[in-house]
């Protein structure tokens, strides 16, 4: 068994594409090996700023011989047809086999050396690699994320040769751009490759780079009695930007500490990729930053620390200029400028949007017990910071800055919080607003987008969701559920929109809720079973789904589901023969199983009804559970499709009633299993 090592050395690969590229490399290699009939025991991949690496373990030295049987013409077909078949297979007549009046040829493909196949595979894999954005360079036509600079292709210690646009794969690679000896070094196998890279100042594995950054950074800040503000997303990105991660602690001018901390953090994180630093137990930031350089500088990093510090000061100086200027103009005075900012050609200006959000926030506030005037004010001002200099320069701070400016001009704290939090939740890990006022504005913002874009026929399709409406709908769902708000969606949408909700919007919410449930490991079929009831109160829907899941997990639930399906099948079969009999079930004395089921239904129905009215869904399901034994017994002993027409009628009426009672709880027909 042997090992294959492929390295594609290129100019700097964008950090955000590396994880996907490693996945694609492993997937394409696995598919290609399978197609070539080459078994393997393990595939691993690595991605960093300058290289993509593939290691396949446990490969055979040769491909197995393969035989392919091809069907030819019939034995009584004209001679010309047979000759054609012989030509296409390259065989003679005596090599053929006649079976059932048809000629068959067996073509033998001798197995080829694995190294040969791997070279071809690597070449074709590179040629069709799915980069999200790719380019050509020089006079070539190969598309890659940035120019390829070197190819290393080693099978079992030998070069598995291939060539791309004049670049031949070999057994050499390059180390760090600036550290160590320049030039290329030879590689024997993966262990040697990994060690050779380390020796030439390249950490191959992303996780190792991350650990090195964390360990180094924590130790470095601890020497000054500081603490790192950890940030997993930033760590991931930085680990994709350096080959020899070297944390460096720099100083920030303490005069900038009076800026809102979000401003300094945004500048550090988004623009400079620095980690922020704080003093343990103290609020706010400490006047330092931690950057991760790609080299251990010959002067110990002093120049790098000073240089980065100066860049940070210049950036923060810019921010300070805007912060000072912005505070001279009240948010309300900025609304006029929003007139000139188009939200969408068919949905008017940002000013018009602000007015709509204000009106919607007022409506929602009334329903959830927030101050309607404050909600309208916060709604109207929510987008005003888009016209400020600081948000123009740092768009990531939209909302947050609005909150600061509102506070600065003396608006109530709840209004400031409602403005700053109105984009929430911005991602799966972001919290939803909790205060009624903030909830009103956050919901109004999202519902205005959804109603607007659906009303002009801009609903998301397939992978296209340019206005992030899926996220907006999920945001609405999360805000409603996490705060337990009783807001029937269609009523809410109608109130805001002033007429029926645009086509497809309520169904879109149902769909998003299903996706959200599935993402949390829930069953989409249960959501369907509950949605079929036509309810649009999300809190109630979820309660019902939870109760249903618990019920179906019980023995009674599973059996009753089977009984329901059986009843439905019988009713469907009988319905084909003619309309099902109508009317309430009738009492009988025998068979006793029929009488028992009827009795159970009679007792059960009001209990279920009362529980549903009280939104006690476990109660309703518990009541249904009492039907299980009688239903099982009924199917065991009673033939519904009796030859006596009156018996058949009465039994069908009973089944219809039992089924109807279950349907009032959930559409069990949509539950799978």
């Amino acid at each position: 068994m042997a090992q294959y090592l492929l390295e594609i050395l290129s100019e700097e690969i964008p950090a955000r594409m590396q994880a996907g590229a490693a996945r694609d490399l492993g997937r394409l290699a696995g598919e290609g090996l399978k197609e070539a009939g080459l078994p393997f025991s393990d595939i691993s991949t690595f991605a960093g700023s300058r290289r993509l690496t593939l290691v396949v373990e446990g490969l055979p030295l040769r491909q197995d011989d393969r035989a392919e049987e091809r069907r030819g013409p019939r034995t009584n077909a004209p001679e010309a047809a047979l000759e054609g078949f012989l030509r296409s297979t390259g065989l003679a007549r005596e090599d053929l086999e006649a079976r059932d009046g048809v000629w068959y040829a067996v073509i033998r493909h001798p197995g080829r050396p694995t190294g040969e196949i791997l070279g071809e595979l690597a070449g074709s894999l590179i040629a069709r690699f799915p980069w999200p954005k790719s380019m050509t360079s020089g006079s070539g036509s190969l598309r890659w994320v940035r120019p390829i600079r070197g190819l290393l292709s080693l099978f079992n210690g030998q070069v598995a040769p291939f060539e791309i646009e004049g670049l031949a794969a070999g057994a050499l690679t390059a180390g760090h751009r600036f550290m160590g000896a320049p030039g290329l070094f030879p590689v024997r196998d993966f262990a040697d490759y990994r060690a050779g890279l380390e020796e030439h100042f390249v950490v191959l594995d992303r996780d190792d780079r991350k650990q090195r950054i964390l360990d180094g950074a924590r130790a470095l800040v601890a020497t000054r009695g500081l603490e790192l503000v950890e940030d997993a997303g930033l760590l991931d990105e930085v680990a994709g930007m350096v080959e020899w991660p070297t944390p460096i602690l720099g100083d920030m001018d303490p005069a900038f500490l009076d800026l809102p901390p979000e401003v300094a953090r945004t500048v550090m994180r988004v623009h400079q990729r620095y980690f922020a630093v704080r003093r343990p137990g103290e609020p706010g930031l400490a006047p330092h930053f931690l950057c991760v350089a790609n080299i251990e500088a010959t002067d110990g990093g002093a120049l790098i620390a000073t240089g980065n510090g100066r860049v940070l000061s210049a950036r923060l100086g810019d921010a300070r200029f805007f912060w000072d200027e912005d505070r001279k103009v009240p948010l309300g005075d900025r609304l006029d400028r929003l007139e000139g900012v188009t939200f969408h050609a068919r949905l008017g200006s940002m000013r018009a949007r602000a007015d709509r959000i204000a009106a919607a926030a007022r409506l929602i506030a009334v329903q959830i017990g927030a101050d309607p005037d404050a909600a309208a004010l916060a709604g109207r001002l929510a987008k005003a910071d888009l016209a400020t200099g600081l948000v123009g320069e740092f768009p990531e701070l939209q909302g947050v800055m609005g909150g600061y400016y509102a506070r600065q001009e003396g608006l109530p704290e709840e209004v400031a919080q409602a403005i700053s939090g109105h984009y929430r939740p911005q991602g799966p890990s972001d919290m939803t607003p909790r205060e009624p006022l903030a909830i009103s504005v956050a919901l109004a913002d999202k519902l205005d987008s959804l109603i607007g874009f659906f009303s002009i026929g801009e609903a998301p399709t397939g992978s296209r969701d340019p206005f992030a409406l899926r996220r907006a709908a999920l945001g609405v769902i999360r805000i409603i559920l996490e705060n337990g708000l009783r807001l029937p969606l269609s009523v809410l949408l109608r109130d805001i929109y002033g007429r029926e909700a645009p086509t497809g919007l309520v169904a879109f919410f149902a769909d998003r809720l299903k996706v959200a449930l599935r993402d949390q490991g829930g069953r989409a079929d249960l959501a369907d079973a509950v949605f079929a009831l036509g309810d649009d109160d999300l809190v109630r829907i979820i309660a019902r789904i939870d109760a249903l899941a618990a019920f179906l997990a019980s023995d009674d639930g599973a059996n009753l589901l089977a009984g329901f399906k059986r009843a439905s099948n019988i009713l469907a079969a009988e319905a084909k023969k003619g309309p099902l009999p109508e009317g309430a079930p009738v009492s009988v004395i025998s068979p006793p199983e029929q009488a028992a089921l009827l009795e159970a239904w009679r007792l059960c129905a009001p209990t279920v009804g009362a529980a549903l009215a009280a939104e006690d869904f476990s109660g309703a399901m518990g009541a249904l559970a009492r039907l299980r034994a009688p239903v099982d017994a009924f199917f065991e002993k009673v033939l519904v499709n009796s030859e006596v027409p009156e018996e058949r009628t009465v039994r069908l009426r009973l089944l219809t009633a039992v089924r109807g009672l279950m349907l009032s709880v959930a559409d069990f027909g949509l539950v799978s299993g």
């Binding site: 100019e11 700097e12 964008p14 950090a15 955000r16 700023s49 954005k133 790719s134 380019m135 050509t136 360079s137 020089g138 006079s139 994320v145 940035r146 120019p147 600079r149 751009r177 600036f178 550290m179 930007m241 350096v242 400079q272 620095y274 950057c291 350089a293 790609n294 080299i295 500088a297 010959t298 002067d299 120049l303 790098i304 000073t306 240089g307 980065n308 100066r310 860049v311 940070l312 000061s313 210049a314 100086g317 810019d318 200029f321 000139g340 900012v341 188009t342 050609a345």
Partner: protein, 299 residues
């Protein structure tokens, strides 16, 4: 190069000239029209089109009327200088050539943290885009590095590599100065030492006021329309060798583009009209690009 004393602004330019001249570039002069970026020089935008190899380097004063701060901001200028290099086709070792140029101006990559950070460049008014990086030196963007993929709305082949150095930023870095107007323009020990401010501060002050307050909007609009009308007319006209007048037509595109920037700085372009202006300039540029490619192919 004197390692002890950092390069003055003009020595920075001279070093880059010497470096790129030694690597086969023709050293051009700045284009003698107002442009917003070095890319717009016909030595880049037109020469990047068509099949012929081309290597050029030049300084281009770049005017950004909206960035004017009346000479009061130490970091922002309405006119600054880009050092522009175009290598067509881009050689395989272009990154190394670029790093060599940094060393030539005194930036030692074993002491400084040089990074290539993803930044895909595009210029919608000339219908151009490419993939590449902004190059960081200790966290500061010192260059833009791009492999052109389209220019004038046309796919390019061969691909050109473009380097744009922000000269003021680079000089601030090399000289360790915080205020652009304090940069040493020539050698501080020379008989008549001048700072960057001595040379350009008055210009920043006057032109900021001109561009943001005093420029005549109606006149700018009229001129824009004149330039726009001239482009198709010049492309339809024929020179002595029977060619369309592409280079004069392109000059008019550049003028239209600068007039648009001035109108923008005067706040005379409504948000809704903005895209339409950009589209008009892009169409003009595309017409020139097509005519240029036809001409280069025929030659």
């Amino acid at each position: 190069m004197a390692a002890e004393r950092p390069l003055s602004f003009q020595d920075l330019i001279l070093e880059l000239h010497a470096y790129w001249s030694a690597r086969g570039c023709v050293i051009l002069q700045p284009y003698d029209l107002e442009v917003g970026a070095g890319t717009l020089h016909p030595g880049t935008v037109l020469r990047a089109l068509g099949p012929k190899p081309w290597r050029a380097a030049y300084v281009q004063p770049s005017r950004r009327p909206s960035d004017g701060r009346y000479g009061e901001n130490p970091n922002r200028l309405r006119s600054f200088h880009q050092y522009q290099v175009i290598l067509k086709p881009n050689p395989p070792d272009m990154q190394e050539l670029y790093l060599g140029s940094l060393q030539a101006i005194g930036i030692d990559p074993r002491k400084h943290d040089i990074r290539f950070v993803e930044d895909d460049w595009e210029n919608p008014t000339v219908g151009a885009w490419g993939l590449g990086w902004e190059v960081w030196c200790d966290g500061m963007e010192v260059s833009q590095y791009t492999y052109f993929q389209q220019v004038g709305g046309l796919d390019v082949s061969p691909v050109s590599g473009e380097l744009t150095y922000g000269l003021e930023r680079l000089a601030l870095y090399v000289q360790g100065v915080d205020n652009v107007f304090d940069l040493a323009f020539n050698d501080p020990e020379s008989p008549d030492f001048k700072t960057y401010g001595d040379v350009f501060l008055e210009s920043e002050r006057e032109f900021s006021a001109f561009e943001q307050e005093a420029a005549d909007v109606a006149m700018l609009q009229r001129h824009f329309e004149d330039m726009e009308a001239a482009v198709p007319r010049l492309l339809a006209a024929r020179g002595r060798q029977g060619q369309p007048l592409v280079l004069p037509a392109f000059d008019h595109v550049l003028k239209a583009s600068h007039l648009f920037n001035l109108l923008d700085a005067r706040g005379a372009i409504a948000v809704a009209a903005r895209q339409s202006y950009i589209g008009r300039i892009r169409d003009l540029c595309r017409a020139c690009a097509e005519a240029w490619v036809a001409l280069e192919g025929a030659a």
